[in-house]
C-alpha cells in the first residue's frame, strides 16, 4: 500500500507525549515514527538499551511507552530481545501465548556500535525474529557527549576535544550498517527522518514484517552534542542525506538498493557548518580537515554506489 502521510500521522500514539527528551532531539522522533509504522492491531514487545531514550521515557513511575517494554542494561539489548523472542516461541508452541508478537530493540550508537556490539551480533547471527534499531547520534550523549566508534573524524566531543594539537576525534566512523549486512540477515536498512517520514516508515515496515532478524540504522541528531538550533533538526538530517554523508539504502537478502539518490550531491560543508561540534574545522588553516572529511564521504559513497549497481 502506498505511503499516506496523513494516515500514518493520525494513527493512535504508541509513544506518548510528556517524556523527558530534549526539544530538538532525534531519538524521540525516531521512536515515535518507528512505532507508527507498525500495524495498529499488532502486539509488540520492546527492549531498550540504557541511554537517553531509556532514561527519558521511563523514570519510575512515569512511562511513555504504550506497549510492553523492558530495559535491563546498556550492552545487552540484542540478547535481552533474543531471550524475549525465544520465550515467545516456547510459549506459543505450548499454547500459553495465543496472540502474535513482534519484537523491537532500541539502542543508541554507544549501545550498538560499542558496548552492545557483541550482544547485537550474537542476536542477529542466532536468527531471532526481531528488529534491532540503532538510533545513531554519534556519541555517548546520555553521559555527556563522549566519543564512540560511531563518532566521525574531527568531531569535537568531551573525550576528543578539538585542541591546539589534536583536532577532535582522530579516527573515522565505524560502518555498522555494513557490518550488519555481513551477518547475512534478511533485511538491513539505513535511514533517517526527512520531512514526510516516508523512508523511515517504509524501512521499518519491511524490517518488522520480514521474518527473521533485521537491522535498522537511523541517524538521529542530538541538539546538545551536535550543537545545532533545536528547530533545525530536519534540516540537519536532510543535509546528511543530500551530502551523501548518510545515504539512504537497504539490503534485502544481500541485494543492495539506494532508496534515495540526491539529484546534486551537496558539498559536505552544508552538513558540517550548522553544527557546533565541527566549528573548529571552519577556522582559517583548517581547510584540510574539511577536505579530508569530504574524501572519506566520497570514498564511502562510491563504494556504496558500486554495491547498488
Amino acid at each position: 500500500m502506498a505511503y499516506n502521510f496523513k494516515e500514518e500521522m493520525n494513527k493512535p500514539e504508541r509513544f506518548a507525549g510528556g517524556h523527558r527528551l530534549c526539544a530538538g532531539c532525534g531519538a524521540g522522533v525516531m521512536a515515535r515514527n518507528v512505532l507508527r509504522a507498525i500495524d495498529e492491531d499488532d502486539n509488540i514487545a520492546i527492549v531498550n538499551a540504557t541511554g537517553c531514550l531509556q532514561a527519558a521515557t521511563f523514570s519510575y513511575p512515569y512511562i511513555t511507552w504504550e506497549d510492553s517494554w523492558i530495559h535491563s542494561a546498556f550492552e545487552n539489548a540484542g540478547a535481552t530481545c533474543g531471550g524475549m523472542e525465544a520465550a515467545y516461541r516456547a510459549l506459543e508452541k505450548r499454547g500459553k501465548v495465543k496472540e502474535k508478537y513482534k519484537f523491537l530493540a532500541f539502542g543508541g550508537d554507544g549501545g550498538s556500535y560499542d558496548i552492545g556490539f557483541q550482544s547485537l551480533s550474537g542476536a542477529m547471527e542466532r536468527n531471532h525474529d526481531m528488529v534491532y534499531i540503532c538510533y545513531d547520534n554519534e556519541a555517548y550523549m546520555n553521559t555527556g557527549i563522549q566519543r564512540s566508534s560511531s563518532t566521525s573524524r574531527f568531531t569535537d566531543t568531551t573525550t576528543t576535544p578539538a585542541g591546539s594539537v589534536v583536532p577532535g576525534k582522530p579516527q573515522n566512523k565505524k560502518n555498522l550498517t555494513e557490518i550488519m549486512v555481513a551477518h547475512s540477515i534478511p533485511y538491513v536498512g539505513q535511514t533517517t527522518f526527512l520531512a514526510n517520514m516516508k523512508d523511515l516508515n517504509e524501512k521499518t515496515k519491511k524490517a518488522v514484517y520480514t521474518e527473521g532478524p533485521a537491522f535498522l540504522n537511523v541517524l538521529a541528531p542530538c541538539t546538545r552534542g551536535w550543537r545545532y538550533d533545536m528547530a533545525d533538526l530536519l534540516d540537519i538530517t536532510k543535509a546528511a542525506v543530500e551530502t551523501c554523508f548518510w545515504p539512504l539504502f537497504e539490503v534485502e537478502n544481500g541485494k543492495y538498493k539506494l532508496t534515495y539518490e540526491p539529484k546534486k550531491k551537496l558539498p559536505i560543508e552544508e552538513y558540517l557548518r550548522p553544527q557546533g561540534r565541527f566549528k573548529h574545522m571552519f577556522k582559517k588553516g583548517n581547510e584540510w580537515m574539511i577536505e579530508e572529511f569530504q574524501k572519506e564521504v566520497d570514498l564511502k559513497w562510491e563504494m556504496l554506489l558500486k554495491k547498488c549497481e
Partner: protein
Amino acid sequence: MGIKDRLSGNEATAMAMKSMNMDVMAAFPITPSTEIPEQFSQYVANGLTDTVFVPVESEHSAMSACIGSQAAGARSCTATSSNGLALMHEMLHIASAMRLPITMACITRAITGPINIHNDHSDAMSSRDCGWIQIHAEDVQEAYDNYIMSVRIAEHKKVLLPVMICQDGFITSHAVENVELLEEEDIRSFVGFYEPDYYLLNPELKVAMGPYDPPTYLMEHKRQQAEAMIDSLDVIKEIYDEFGKLTGRYYDLIETYKIEDAERIIILLGSSAGTAKIVVDELRSKGEKVGIIKIRSYRPFPGKLIREALKSPKVVAVLDKAEGLSSIGGPVYSDVCAALNGNAGFKIVNYIYGIGGRDVRTDDIHEVFADLQDDIDGKESKAKTAANYRYLALRE
C-alpha cells in the same frame, strides 16, 4: 516411586531441567558446567524436550536472554561456573531486582587470577550480595533435588527471587554417584506451571520493567527485595517439607551432624561436608565430642538456625573455600560471626581451605579438630597464620 540411576552432578542437573520441561534455556560453555548445556542440547536434538535452547555468545548474554525470557513469561534457566558467573555479575543484580525467578546451576570453580579450572567457592561467594538465593549441595542427589525444589522456591509469590543452585565443580559435577530420580510426571505436578502475575507477553495487561529509579523510590524497592529474601527462609522450609513428603528426602536450610553434645564444631558447605562427616564418625568412635553444621542455604543466610544449633560448643571452626581477601577472614566466617552478634560465648576461628582445587582430605579435617582441641586446652595453636584467621593445607 523413584528411579535408581548412576549420574554425575551435571547429568543429574540436565536431567532435572528436562524433567521440569523448562520453557527456555540460554547458556554458554564454561568448564566444569559445560556438560549441562551439552546434554540439554542433546535432549533437544533428539526431540526429548521441546524447550527452546538459546546458544548465546557469552554468559553476559546468557543471563540477559534469561532476563528477557523470564520477563516475557517463560520459565528460564542457565548454567555456568567461575568467570562465567563473574561476567554475569551485573545481570545477576538486575535479575533479582526485577524479581525474576530464574534458576541457574552454578558449578563452582575458582575465578581466574591466575586461571584455574578446579573447585573452590570464589565464584559463588563473589555473587553473594546479588540478591540471589544460593543453595549448596553436598552430593549429586542434593544437586538434583535442590534444582527441582528451587524452581518452586523462586516462583513462590512471597519470594520471586532467582536461585543459584550450587554444586562443587568436578567433585560433584563430574563424580558419578547413585541417585534416585523422580518420575517425570511427579516432578511436573510438583513444580506446576509458571504463572506470573506480570509478564511482557500479556496483551491484556501491558507492563514495563526496568525503570530509572530515582532516590525517592530505590530505597523502598531494595527493602522489598530484602523482605523477599527474609521471607524466603520460611518458604524454603515449607517447600523442602512438601518435597520430603513426595520423596522421603527431608531437607532443612542447615544440616547438623552429631552436634548435640559436641564441644568442637566445624561449619562448612558443599562437598567437603561428606569428608568431614567421615572424620566426625572416626573421632566419635574414640569418644571425642565433635560435629559439623553444613550450610545448605547460604542466601538467605540461616543465622537463627545456626545460632540455635550452636548450643554449647567450646570452639567452632568456620571453613571458607574462598579467600575473601578482607584481611579478617572468609565470607562464611563473617556471616557466622554476624549471626552470633558478638554474643557467642565461645571461640570462633576461620580456615581458608581447598582453594583452586587443593585436595581436601580426611587428614585435613582431622587437623582442624586437633587444632580446636589445642584451642580448648589453651595450647598455642599449631595452625598456620594468625590466631583466628587460619589456613588449611597451605604450603610454607
